[in-house]
Subunit: 593 residues, 2 copies
């Protein structure tokens, strides 16, 4: 239901071009108009303008209008293109002597200056209409003009911004925001969040509750930001998520709570993060009695498996060097062997082993993978998790290769949702596999069918955690929570061996009539990236931090003189030179839930 709604939501919005950096102003501004301004905003009596630049059409012919906007472009001192948040319009600069002062203002104002013009909406002369521009049938014959603010020479042209370095874009963020792409992204984000709110509040009676951002520190919460208070030695923290508050609201009877919340995580963010979600086929059983050495090896180990994926039409489009690069990738990154198997028997086999497999298990493979002529099967064997990771990577790799050869595989306008369920509740600790840690967090409820295993074989318990994946990217996740205080205590104290004292307020709350409850959190930044096709979450946030967590515009974080730190009862511990070298940097990462 949830992903269906999201899918509808995405369809309802106009789909922009993905990864388009070279934008044509007119077409981009048209899509902006379509999506963000279905309704022309009313203007109050307090503003000078009578209309927005982008809304004027043939139906306005003859009207006297006053417009305000930025000078986008000037041609031969005859035409101006004026821009506001709504779009572009062409302005005709008067050339007659009595209007000399108007001409002077409009011709001398630097690009990106803000002007106010009044004049008449007229039809463009035959042959000069621009069908690519929403306002392309008309132009404004200007009578008066006013320079509202002059713009100094810009360090670069607005339209070239995308080619500039990330650092420069962040330093002059207020100029970057004027680009069609940023305007589109931020306005689409606003609309999308509004649609979500309407769905939740108006259609389903949800209640929007703001939870605090100054909270108690999570013990050992190494990724939290801390805030010194004016009580010596006492600190708040910025919560990594409204986790505990969400549950307390449920205990408090605030059924159907939601919030567009900020989460503060003091960690690095990768712009191209691609969590791996793979569809693969397990063919281990087919090879239980194989005579092929590396398959035997793999299957003899406890977590050993044989995995295969089928590349449709692979034999037709993939070249020998592609296959070689795939095998090299597998060997270099996963230390595993990949066997390519071509289904057409007249193809050249890469290895006698592959040929042998084909003869031995060929018909089984063809049946299981539903292979057809010209398909290629890639086969690997090894430890389960690593084999899955490898096949997931190879699947994406092959898709890229095929798309580069002109095969249409992934429709960029399509939104494909997928639920991932049945996660394990606990995982062995990496440093000490005898002990368990929560796969997600200790508040996740066990799967109802597995609850008896909690007391005998906790590592086998599945959780009621679920992730939502859009076009291969995780965009959200959530869980049904433990509402029983004793069960929560058992998980914390006995299974995870944590100090329950630190969560006593939550355990107490569960004791006072906590209803069964669960929820989900969407990563809004990530979702907006997918919807807009933006290469980085920085393109869907108005004022993002740099990769190193810096605000390049205002130069935050910044130093504070020691005497100004006194009210907070802290002082800086300057590191020694040796410490400086190995010190790691600070990467805040924002996401919404």
């Amino acid at each position: 239901m949830f992903s269906c709604w999201l899918s509808q939501l995405c369809r309802g919005l106009s789909t922009p071009t993905r990864r388009t950096t070279q934008l044509i102003w007119s077409s981009a501004s048209r899509s902006l108009v379509l999506s963000s301004q279905r309704r022309i905003p009313e203007l109050s009596s307090f503003v000078a303008r009578t209309n927005t630049c982008g809304e004027l059409r043939s139906s306005h012919l003859g009207q006297e209008v006053t417009l305000c906007g930025w000078i986008q472009f000037r041609r031969q001192n005859i035409f101006l293109v004026l821009r506001d948040f709504h779009g572009l319009v062409q302005v005709v600069i008067p050339q007659d002597e009595p209007a000399a002062s108007v001409k002077k203002i409009l011709c001398e104002a630097p690009m990106e200056s803000v002007v106010q013009v009044s004049g008449t909406v007229i039809s463009r002369p035959p042959g000069q209409k621009n069908p690519k521009m929403p306002t392309g049938e008309i132009e404004i014959k200007v009578k008066t003009a006013k320079l509202l603010n002059s713009c100094k020479k810009l360090p670069f042209e607005i339209k070239d911004f995308m080619k500039k370095t990330e650092a420069l874009r962040l330093q002059y963020r207020y100029l970057d925001l004027r680009s069609v792409q940023m305007q589109y992204n931020l306005r689409l984000r606003s609309q999308m969040v509004m649609k979500m709110r309407e769905y939740l509040c108006n259609l389903h009676g949800f209640v929007d509750v703001e939870t605090p951002t100054l909270f108690k520190r999570t013990p050992g919460g190494a990724k939290e930001f801390v805030i010194p208070s004016r009580e010596p030695g006492k600190f708040y923290s910025l919560p990594q998520s409204p986790q505990q508050f969400k549950q307390l609201l449920m205990v408090g009877g605030l059924d159907r709570y939601f919030q567009v919340a900020r989460c503060y995580r003091d960690e690095g963010s990768r712009p191209d993060r691609q969590p791996e979600f793979t569809q693969i086929v397990d063919i281990s059983d087919m090879f239980r009695n194989t005579e092929v050495g590396f398959l035997q090896d793999a299957l003899s180990k406890p977590q050993g498996t044989v995995k295969a994926i089928c590349i449709r039409k692979g034999a037709k489009y993939l070249k020998r060097k592609d296959i070689e690069s795939i095998r090299k990738f597998a060997a270099d990154h996963f230390n595993e062997e990949v066997l390519p198997i071509f289904l057409k028997t007249n193809e050249n086999w890469n290895s006698p082993v592959a040929k042998f497999i084909m003869e031995e298990q060929g018909s089984g493979l063809v049946k299981l993978l539903e292979t057809q002529e010209e398909d290629v099967v890639l086969l690997t064997a090894g430890e389960h998790k690593r084999a899955c990771s490898l096949m997931g990577k190879l699947r994406l790799e092959c898709a890229d290769l095929l798309e580069a050869r002109g095969v249409v595989l992934r429709d960029p306008a399509l939104f494909s949702f997928l639920w991932v369920v049945d996660f394990p509740l606990f995982l062995p600790k990496e440093e000490n596999p005898q002990e368990l840690e929560s796969a997600h967090h200790p508040f996740t409820a066990p799967h109802p069918s597995d609850i008896h295993l909690l007391y005998t074989e906790p590592h086998k318990v599945r959780s009621q955690h679920y992730d939502l994946v859009l076009n291969g990217n995780e965009i959200g996740g959530g869980s049904i929570r433990i509402h029983n205080s004793e069960l929560q205590h058992y998980v914390l104290a006995t299974v995870l061996k944590e100090d329950v004292k630190l969560l006593s307020h939550l355990l107490q709350a569960l004791d006072y009539g906590a209803p069964p409850h669960g929820g989900i959190a969407l990563g809004l930044d990530r979702l907006m990236c997918l919807v807009t096709g933006a290469p980085s979450i920085r393109d869907v946030i108005a004022f993002p931090k740099s990769f190193r967590g810096h605000d390049l515009m205002s130069n935050a974080p910044d130093s504070i003189p020691p005497e100004e730190l006194k009210p907070y009862h802290i002082q800086v511990s300057w590191p020694t030179d040796a410490e400086t070298e190995k010190s790691s940097s600070n990467h805040p990462c924002r996401s919404e839930s």
Copy 2:
């Protein structure tokens, strides 16, 4: 236009009783239903309940329903009242032998336990219908029941919460949230914000943009929270308001921006703050040639003035001791004299002075104040600001007195809005009146008519700041901002003598084509207090901090061991005993803009 919209908004919501602490459940839950649940929320196929408790009516008779909720009340082991976020419903506990297990569950579950019941909606027997309860015509004949979570004995009854101490309410906030009043306040807040969003986004094309909460510290911003980063000696701060970002968004072309933002101010908050906004009449000119001594004295001083207010029907309702207490108040708190003047000539005059004034300026006063028989005029003289303050206080005082005598003056259901304009742009510094400081902040634009005075007599310049007042309480304020870089530089450097380097990014932004712009910020917490009649903003916030800035539920702020502070490169400076005594406490205050 803005206050008109707010007024409509407030009217559209059902007006709750003001300052009602003793709530009758049925009537309160009815108003909750009316306002928050005009549309019955749809339930998905994933939940056990078929209906909510509060929605059932006679039209549901005969239906098989499954409900979930808290046990609100139990009578003689025959009836239960079940509560969910939607309201209350009566449940009939089966008494027959085959249903013994159902009876056992429902009779043994402690109050506030969570149960799920299935049964049939039946009509209440004649004479047992409860017209005060929205579901009062029906009850549920239970067939099966399930205890979802048992509740331990509560430290107090939920309905008695309002009588408990603030500290106890905050410690058990999740229980306090179950009260009808808190549910009402928070759900109304959610609706009200949603209405605001619909108005701004859908009707007027505004764009909702989130601005960062980790920002550069304002130099000397003593009321800011600071956040150490992992770079030695470098700090972020939590912005007191999105002040600078708002302006940068305007420079960035994000016309019609809004945000429901959090502001972080490290200062005390008074639950009963009452800024003084007074309507008075200045009658100084009438007394220019008076012979009355204290009026002469006052008017001979530079800021001297004579002020009067008219108390309608004062002579009828105010007693002599009331007048005495008013005069005493003025003398004690303002060191000023107040002359009461009764219009009916056959009244006893309090002083020969008053009589003399009446004879001398009587007709003028009657005309100017539009006084009628039985009115009382209170007159004072003194320094302008103090006289205004005094008269404002007396006006409220007299209103309280008259209302205590049964006169209906202020309709609690009425929302009266008032704009306050023409504030001074600068004020003399208290510690050094020769220097000026900003009355609001240095980015406020001067009044267009006064702009020439900026260079000659800056103290006379009015600002384009405006405040919005609802029922005597300031609920919002805003200003037209300076968009010209040179003007901003002049105000900062020449008038205010501030270091412009620290705001270089803003000055630079203004240079690159900043459009003329302005805005307003509403204090959402305050507004919700007025709308709901809550005595404190803590009653309209889900998880408020205590007066001293503590989270009494989780015990934040809390200590952090020194080794865990290492990544932040800070250490605690423990104060000496002497410093501890004079150290001030930490009061964070939340508001929205």
